[in-house]
C-alpha cells in the first residue's frame, strides 16, 4: 500500500499490524534518545490547508522521531487564493522531492485526488479531508481502546463502543465506524436524526436517538465535537436542548459501568457535548489519546516509508 487515504483501503490484518507496530514504537519515547534513524533522508511535507495545530504537531513529532526531514507547507484555502490550486501545490511538492505528503484539507477527496493525479509521485497520508475520513485518528482511537479494554487480544472483538454527536459532518466518525467494526467491535451511533446521514442504514452499526438507553451496555464512549455553526443550520433548536439529550454530563458518566472509558478526538466544547467533570474524570483517556497519536503516526510513517516505496503490495 502506497498511500493511507481511507480506512476502507486497509485490511483487518494491516490494521492490527499498524497497532502492533505502534505499541513497539511507543517504547521509543521512554528511551533517552527518543529518536530512531529509520527514516533518515526521507522528506515529509505537512500540507495543512485547514488549521490544525494538534494533528500537525503530532505528525511532525512522529516524523522527527524517525529522523525524517519535515517541511511545513501552509496552503490555506485554495478557494480563496485561486492561484494556489491543488495542482500547483502538488507540482511544487514534486519539485521539492517530497517522499510523502501529509495532507489535511477542507475538501472531501482532496487526498484521493492528490494520490491519483500525475502531478506528484510521493506517498499521500490523509490527515483529515472535509467530512470524509481521518484514518490516523481512528487508528489511535482503536489503539487506545485496545490498550485499555482488550486484555491481551490483538483486536477489539466483542467490545461495545458508542460514537455520540454530529455524525453527519464527522470524518472521525466515518473512519471509526469502518475501523472499529473491522476489528470486531460493535458500534452504536447516538445522535439526533438530523445529524445522521441519509444512507447510514447501510452502515454496519446500530442507531439510537436515546443516549441514556444505551449507556450501561457500553465499554467505550466516543464524544464528537459539535460545531456552534450547526445551530444556525437548523440541525437542532439550541445548545441547551442538544446538551440535555446528547451531552455527556455527570449523571450519564455515572451510569457507565465501572471499566468503561470516555474518549474525545478534540478539540472539546466543554459544556456543550461534554462537561468539564466528564472530560477530567478518571474514566477519561482523552489526554492519553494525544500521546498515543504520536506512536500511531510513527507506525504509519514507518510502514509506508521505511521499506522499498516502489513496491505496491500490502503493508506486510
Amino acid at each position: 500500500m502506497k498511500h493511507l487515504l481511507s480506512i476502507a483501503d486497509i485490511t483487518r490484518v494491516d490494521a492490527i499490524k499498524i497497532l502492533d507496530t505502534a505499541a513497539e514504537l511507543a517504547r521509543v519515547s521512554d528511551t533517552p534518545m527518543k529518536k530512531l534513524p529509520t527514516l533518515r533522508g526521507r522528506t515529509i511535507v505537512n500540507l495543512f490547508a485547514e488549521d490544525s495545530t494538534r494533528t500537525r504537531i503530532s505528525f511532525e513529532a512522529a516524523a522527527k522521531r524517525l529522523s525524517a526531514d519535515v517541511i511545513n507547507f501552509s496552503a490555506k484555502g485554495s478557494s480563496v487564493s485561486k492561484g494556489e490550486s491543488l495542482k500547483d501545490t502538488a507540482q511544487t511538492l514534486q519539485a521539492m522531492g517530497a517522499d510523502a505528503v501529509i495532507i489535511r484539507h477542507g475538501a472531501s477527496g482532496a487526498p484521493a485526488r492528490l494520490a491519483a493525479c500525475e502531478w506528484m509521485s510521493g506517498a499521500v497520508i490523509n490527515a483529515g479531508d472535509g467530512t470524509h475520513e481521518h484514518p490516523s485518528q481512528a487508528l489511535l482511537d482503536a489503539f487506545t481502546i485496545r490498550k485499555h479494554l482488550s486484555q491481551g487480544r490483538e483486536d477489539l472483538q466483542g467490545l461495545r463502543v458508542a460514537i455520540v454527536g454530529d455524525v453527519l459532518h464527522s470524518r472521525v466518525a466515518r473512519s471509526n465506524v469502518l475501523l472499529l467494526t473491522k476489528l470486531g467491535a460493535h458500534v452504536t451511533l447516538v445522535a439526533p436524526p438530523t445529524l445522521l446521514p441519509v444512507g447510514v442504514e447501510s452502515w454496519p452499526v446500530t442507531i439510537s436517538y436515546d443516549f441514556d438507553q444505551v449507556l450501561d451496555s457500553l465499554d467505550a464512549v466516543m464524544m464528537l465535537r459539535v460545531q456552534q455553526e450547526r445551530m444556525n443550520e437548523l440541525f437542532f433548536p439550541n445548545a441547551r436542548e442538544y446538551s440535555r439529550y446528547f451531552g455527556l454530563n455527570t449523571d450519564r458518566l455515572n451510569a457507565l459501568h465501572p471499566g468503561a472509558i470516555v474518549m474525545h478526538p478534540g478539540p472539546m466544547n466543554r459544556g456543550l457535548e461534554i462537561t468539564a467533570e466528564s472530560a477530567d474524570s478518571a474514566r477519561s483517556v482523552i489526554v492519553e489519546q494525544v500521546a498515543n497519536g504520536v506512536s500511531v503516526r510513527m507506525a504509519i510513517l514507518y510502514l509506508l516509508l521505511a521499506g522499498d516505496t516502489s513496491i505496491e503490495a500490502g503493508l506486510l
Binding site: 490550486s85 491543488l86 495542482k87 475538501a107 472531501s108 472535509g130 446521514p197 441519509v198
Partner: protein
C-alpha cells in the same frame, strides 16, 4: 450558409423505419427517396449498412458565448454539434451577459448564422439576470430576429411559485414553452452529488431527489391550472419519471428530456472524487438510470437533450468541491443512446429518430427540423454507422473544452456524416 447547389446521392442507406433507400439531394432539399436511384452528376455517398435519419436536434446546449469563450464559442460548439450529428442546437441563456433581452439573443443568432454549420436557436431567460424575481423581456425576445419560443433559467431554478405561474401564463400569448431546471434551492444549498449511500460514505453534501421531484410536481400542477405548456429539463430520478407519467395520464401538457450521461452513469462514479463526474443535476443511482431508460423507451420522456456544458481545465483539475458542474455531450450523445437504448433492445432506430430529432423539433417549434425524409423537405440528415466501434479520446474533440466523462470508453455506433441544407458539414473526420 447558402444552400448547396451540388447534387448528392446518399446510396443504399437504411431509413429509421427500416426501408433501404437512396436519397437524392439538390439545392438543399430532398429531391427523391427511393431504392436504386441513379444520377450521373451527383456526388455519391455510400451509406450501405448505415442508418440515415432526419438530422439531430438538441434542445439543451451551453455554447458559452458571449462571456465564457475560453470554454466554448458558438463556432466551436457548432463544430462539436455537427460531429455529433446535430443540425440544430438550442443555446441556453446563462451566458454573460445573460440572454434576457432581444439584443443578446440576436447576437447569438447571428453568431450561429456566421458559423454556418447548423441552426443555432437561442433560448431566452425566464427572469432578468436568471435571478428568479422579475420576468425577462420575453415578448421582445419572441419578436426578435431570433424568434425565441423556448425560455429557461437553466443553471437556476425558477423557484418562486408565483414567478413560475406568471411565466407559464405569459408564454401562452405566442405558444412558447417554459423549460424548468427543477431544483429546490433551499434543499440543495452547497450540494455536491446525489444524496444517498455513496454521498454518506464520501462525505460530500447530498442533493436529494426530492429537491427535483417537488418542483416537477408543483410545476405540472401549475401548468394544468393555468392551461399552459411545460418542459422539464434533464430529468434524473425514478420518482420524476413517475410524476411525468401521472401528469401526462391526466392530460397535462408537459414534456421532459433526459441527458445521455444520465442514461449511462451512476453516482458510483463519484467514488474516485474525480470532478469529471460532477454535474448538475447529479448522477443518481442504478435504479434511477433504469427508470430513465424505460421512461425514454415508453415515451414518458419525450426527448434526449445533451446539456452540453463545457468547462476549462482548471475548473475540473481540482478538488471536487471547487470544481464546476457540467459535462460535454454533443459529440457522443448518439453513441450513448445507441449503446444504452438500441443495443439493449429498449428502442429501435425509429424511436431514436423520434427522441433525438422529431420530438425536439416539435416541442421547440423548429419547423424545418425533425421532418420526415420525403421529397421537398430540407436536407437535414444524419448518417450513422451502427457498427463503427471506436474509443473516446478527450484530446480528439471538436469542443474547445476537454471535460468529457466518457474518455476511454468504447462505443459501437458513430455518426459518420451530417448534412445541413444538403451540404456535408461533417463527414468522417472533416468539418466543412
Amino acid at each position: 450558409m447558402t444552400t448547396d447547389t451540388k447534387k448528392t446521392l446518399i446510396k443504399n442507406g437504411t431509413l429509421a423505419d427500416g426501408r433501404v433507400c437512396d436519397v437524392l439531394i439538390e439545392n438543399g432539399l430532398i429531391q427523391a427517396v427511393a431504392p436504386s436511384l441513379s444520377d450521373g452528376d451527383a456526388i455519391a455517398f455510400d451509406a450501405t449498412s448505415m442508418i440515415v435519419m432526419s438530422g439531430l436536434v438538441d434542445l439543451h446546449t451551453h455554447l458559452r458565448e458571449p462571456g465564457k469563450e475560453d470554454s466554448e464559442t458558438v463556432l466551436s460548439g457548432s463544430r462539436a454539434g455537427v460531429k455529433g450529428g446535430y443540425v440544430a442546437l438550442s443555446a441556453m441563456a446563462n451566458t454573460s451577459p445573460v440572454a434576457d433581452n432581444a439584443g443578446v439573443v440576436e447576437q447569438v443568432y447571428r453568431l450561429g448564422k456566421s458559423a454556418g454549420l447548423l441552426d443555432v436557436f437561442p433560448i431566452g431567460a425566464v427572469t432578468q439576470g436568471l435571478e428568479g424575481k422579475v420576468l425577462a423581456e420575453i415578448g421582445a425576445m419572441a419578436d426578435s430576429v431570433a424568434q425565441v419560443r423556448v425560455f429557461s433559467d437553466d443553471g437556476n431554478c425558477v423557484s418562486d411559485p408565483l414567478v413560475m405561474r406568471r411565466a407559464l401564463e405569459y408564454v401562452k400569448k405566442f405558444g412558447g414553452v417554459i423549460a424548468q431546471h427543477a431544483q429546490e434551492p433551499a434543499l440543495t444549498s452547497g450540494s455536491q452529488m446525489n444524496e444517498g449511500v455513496v454521498s454518506a460514505t464520501l462525505g460530500l453534501k447530498g442533493w436529494p431527489a426530492v429537491a427535483e421531484e417537488a418542483i416537477i410536481a408543483r410545476d405540472v400542477l401549475l401548468a394544468e391550472h393555468v392551461g399552459s405548456r411545460l418542459h422539464i429539463c434533464h430529468l434524473t430520478t425514478a420518482g420524476g419519471v413517475e410524476i411525468i407519467r401521472w401528469a401526462k395520464a391526466r392530460g397535462i401538457d408537459v414534456t421532459a428530456e433526459v441527458t445521455p450521461h444520465h442514461l449511462l452513469l451512476t453516482d458510483e462514479s463519484a467514488r474516485s472524487y474525480d470532478p469529471i463526474f460532477k454535474v448538475n443535476p447529479p448522477l443518481r443511482t442504478e435504479n434511477d438510470v433504469m427508470a430513465l431508460r424505460h421512461g425514454l423507451a415508453d415515451g414518458t420522456i419525450d426527448i434526449v437533450a445533451t446539456d452540453h456544458a463545457p468547462h476549462p481545465g482548471e475548473s475540473k483539475e481540482c478538488e471536487w468541491q471547487e470544481a464546476a458542474f457540467g459535462m460535454l455531450g454533443l459529440e457522443h450523445a448518439l453513441s450513448i443512446v445507441a449503446a444504452t437504448m438500441v443495443e439493449s433492445g429498449l428502442m429501435d432506430w425509429a424511436a431514436v429518430q423520434d427522441r433525438m430529432s422529431v420530438a425536439p423539433a416539435r416541442i421547440a417549434g423548429y419547423v424545418d427540423h425533425g421532418r420526415e425524409i420525403a421529397v421537398g423537405a430540407p436536407a437535414h440528415l444524419t448518417v450513422i454507422n451502427p457498427k463503427a466501434s471506436y474509443r473516446v479520446d478527450r484530446d480528439q474533440l471538436q469542443s474547445k473544452s476537454r471535460n468529457t466523462p466518457f474518455h476511454g470508453m468504447q462505443f459501437s455506433a458513430r455518426v459518420v456524416a451530417t448534412f445541413f441544407h444538403g451540404h456535408a458539414v461533417y463527414q468522417e473526420g472533416t468539418i466543412a
